[in-house]
């Protein structure tokens, strides 16, 4: 942990649905440092997606405070807040009636960036997410593969040069190869651009491979947070269970796929 103030800070945040019957997020306190890659891991219904949406005010908190760069998000205008934060949606969330360039350039367009500048930025971003400019620029989302769609989703999130990128299970629906390639590519971008990333995933392996730190959520509560090594020392049974799977898989793979054979 650094001594610098956190870029994103959740302090005793709570959110319930259905008139208080369902506590989706229950008294969560969590700091994300500038430049950090944080993964939030949990099963369905753990409240991880809700926590992410609270950060850019897609939904509003019931209790507690969220600050970004020291500013309480509730004091900010939600629309300009969202334009400052990149957001990658589950399975892309691309607008089906906009072509690739239109999807990527949407936030700069909303911010009033000149047309020519947007076009140049779109090409730059296509290079960045490794999609051929000429080939993909004018395609519609339904003409793309799942992986390509998600690359466009990442490019869209980065278009307005945000410091922060929030990702909601960005690679969940992809095949393992694509998923791995995209994860590595994004990790590189995160470093290259000096981003602060919060990624939601239900896959502990993915979290371990890409994130600096991992937060584990269950039933709306934050169970544990720390580096993978710190998490291994956690006494919590659920956290232990989550870590056991990748470990067991790694051991099995070591046996089934000896290194020399794979080379």
């Amino acid at each position: 942990m650094t001594a610098a103030p956190p870029l994103i800070a959740f302090a005793h945040v709570g959110k319930s649905f259905d008139g208080g019957r369902v506590k989706a997020v229950d008294d969560v306190s969590l700091d994300v440092a500038e430049g950090e890659f944080l993964a939030i891991v949990g099963g369905s219904g753990s409240g991880k997606t809700t926590l992410l949406r609270l950060a850019n005010r897609l939904i509003e908190t019931d209790s507690g405070h969220i600050t970004i760069d020291g500013e309480d998000v509730r004091a900010a205008d939600p629309v300009s807040l969202r334009r400052r934060i990149g957001y990658v949606f589950q399975s892309g969330g691309l607008f089906p009636h906009f072509d690739v360039a239109g999807n990527i350039g949407i936030t700069p367009k909303l911010l009033g960036t000149p047309q020519q500048e947007i076009a140049a930025r779109v090409d730059e971003l296509l290079d960045l997410v490794r999609l051929d400019r000429a080939q993909y620029r004018d395609r519609l989302p339904h003409e793309l593969s799942g992986g390509q769609r998600q690359r466009v989703g990442v490019a869209r999130a980065l278009a307005a040069r945000p410091k922060i990128v929030l990702m909601d299970e960005p690679f969940g629906a992809l095949d393992p190869l694509t998923r791995d390639a995209l994860g590595d590519d994004y990790r590189a971008l995160h470093k290259q651009l000096g981003l602060t990333t919060v990624m939601i995933t239900h896959d502990m392996t993915e979290a371990i491979l890409h994130a600096d730190r991992i937060a584990v959520m269950h039933s709306g509560k934050l169970l544990a947070q720390g580096t993978p090594a710190e998490l291994s020392n956690s006494g919590d049974a659920y956290v232990g269970e989550l870590l056991r799977t990748p470990r067991r898989q790694a051991e099995r793979l070591k046996v089934l796929l000896p290194r020399d054979g794979a080379a």
Partner: protein, 519 residues
């Protein structure tokens, strides 16, 4: 004569630019107004369950009102509004024709547009709407650049339905004074001109299908994101609008408008008056098929300039008198009442078109029935048929009261069919019109009203207030006064019901003028 070479086809074709242009104008305006009302309402109500169901419920109720009644209801409503506006703000507006037709049709178009807009907007994937929010769109930006474009195919399907309904229902705007393709149908039904009826139905169907197909092109274009399809459909619609509107806009507005109610005699007399005006070098056109509740008000407000009404009709229906006076006295009093409304009763044409109880001559003779009084003892076993309004008119109440008449059954019929119905024995008695040519054709007999329960029905020529001092108009129509007797009118009416090309109202009017012009 061959059906396809019938000269009435070319006569129908000659009316097409006028009728079609007016039809398109009223339909397009109504649809545009309907969309302008429905779209914001649907957008505002889509996420509010209570306003949404109220709105859809209201639109459904409007839809269940028959088109003809909805159109007819708007006329008195607007008339009242116009007189209020005149009293309060110092200006009135015409409650006749275009305005009530547009308002009623716009209401009629609302249901499919509302329903499909709400369905379309609510059908947009929530994930997409959330993404719009997430990339930093305001609710308005999200609606305009994401939700509406994605809902558009479903909305277009609703607009298509609305367009077809409006174009079809616009044919019913003829009785409230809006020229439309319905003019063919109403005139054709009244004068048994099946060529006109067929032509009107075909023209309306072709127009509706054409517009539907062009809108379908746009809808599919939007669905498949093919710009050229959308453009092609749009250009097609624009071309259709221009092609149909320009000829009717280019026509010079005629200075005199002759009104006619919805039956053959009125069509013939209106044609006759228009011909006399044209012969005097005045430009004139006819506005036919007007409902009898509409036509007098249209004259008072100056929407039409001249028409023929019947003394008893005005006396009982328009001015709600239940007492019955001798003929001359009634006319004099009517003239005074009309003068108060600044309407000129120029004079009588010379014949009466009264309601009368009519039955087959042979049957009447066999039963020894000559007068209405003779009928009373047998009425309990007999059925009577009449037009749509007779049984709610004061004449019927008067007849029942004066004679103590009570029939076994009452039926309402299209006037053209009731003579055939009584001749064939399907009904025993009808309330016919004394000037109807079919009385002679079917060998029917008029039962004498010895107690004078039915008021006199002299055909009278009325002038609009603004034409009261118009000497050219008076000079042109005065030769008609007192010169049309009942036998001539009956023959003219019979000719008009002939069902061939010599039976068009204008042809019969020329024949009638040949007979009376020499007098």
């Amino acid at each position: 004569m061959n059906f396809f070479t019938d000269s009435r086809w070319s006569e129908a074709l000659a009316h097409l630019p006028d009728y079609l242009g007016n039809h398109v104008r009223v339909s397009v305006t109504a649809l545009a107004l309907g969309l302008a009302i429905s779209l914001p309402l649907a957008i505002a109500a889509r996420n509010r369950p209570i306003p949404r169901s109220l709105l859809l419920g209201l639109a459904s109720i409007i839809q269940t009102v028959p088109g003809l009644a909805l159109l007819a209801l708007f006329y008195p409503l607007l008339l009242a509004l116009a007189s209020l506006s005149l009293a309060w703000f110092g200006f009135g507006f015409s409650a006749f024709g275009f305005l009530p037709a547009v308002l009623a049709l716009a209401l009629y178009s609302m249901l499919p547009v509302l329903r499909n807009t709400i369905t379309g907007l609510n059908g947009v994937e929530p994930a997409i709407v959330e993404a719009a929010q997430g990339v930093g769109m305001t609710p308005r930006q999200s609606l305009l650049s994401v939700e509406l474009p994605l809902a558009l195919p479903v909305m277009m399907a609703g607009i298509r339905t609305a367009a077809v309904w409006v174009i079809g229902t616009a044919t019913l705007s003829t009785p409230i004074g809006q020229t439309s393709l319905g003019n063919y149908i109403f005139a054709g039904l009244q004068t048994q001109n099946w060529v006109f009826v067929l032509f009107g139905c075909l023209a309306a169907a072709v127009l509706a299908l054409g517009v539907d197909q062009l809108l379908a092109l746009i809808e599919i274009g939007i669905r498949q994101r093919r710009r050229w399809r959308v453009a092609f459909g749009g250009v097609g619609l624009a071309a259709l609008a221009v092609a149909t509107l320009v000829p009717s806009l280019a026509r010079s507005p005629s200075s005199y408008i002759v009104g006619a109610k919805t039956f053959a005699e009125q069509y013939v007399l209106a044609a006759l008056i228009a011909q006399r005006l044209q012969a005097a070098g005045l430009s004139a056109s006819t506005r036919e098929g007007l409902g009898s509740n509409v036509i007098f008000d249209a004259l008072v407000s100056g929407d039409i300039d001249v028409y023929v009404d019947y003394s008893g009709t005005l006396w009982a229906n328009q001015f709600h008198h239940s007492d019955i006076k001798p003929r001359a006295e009634l006319l004099a009093e009517l003239k005074a009442i009309l003068a108060q409304q600044k309407v000129t009763l120029l004079g009588e044409l010379g014949f009466e078109n009264a309601y009368a109880l009519v039955m087959p001559r042979k049957r009447a003779e066999a039963l020894g029935i000559r007068t209405v009084a003779d009928l009373v003892s047998r009425a309990g076993t007999m059925s009577i048929a009449a037009d749509y309004e007779f049984f709610s008119r004061p004449e019927w109440a008067g007849l029942q009261k004066a004679y103590g008449l009570a029939f076994r059954a009452q039926r309402q019929m299209q006037p053209d069919f009731m003579y055939a119905a009584v001749a064939s024995g399907e009904v025993d008695v009808i309330a016919g019109y004394t000037s109807d040519g079919l009385i002679a054709k079917y060998d029917l007999v008029v039962l004498e009203d010895t107690k004078h329960a039915i008021p006199p029905y002299d055909a009278i020529l009325l002038l609009a207030p603004k034409r009261a001092g118009d000497q050219a108009l008076r000079a042109a129509v005065t030769p008609l006064l007192g010169h049309i007797d009942i036998a001539e009118m009956r023959e003219a009416n019979l000719r008009a019901a002939g069902g061939d090309s010599a039976s068009s109202p204008s042809a019969v009017a020329r024949w009638l003028w040949d007979k009376i012009g020499k007098k």
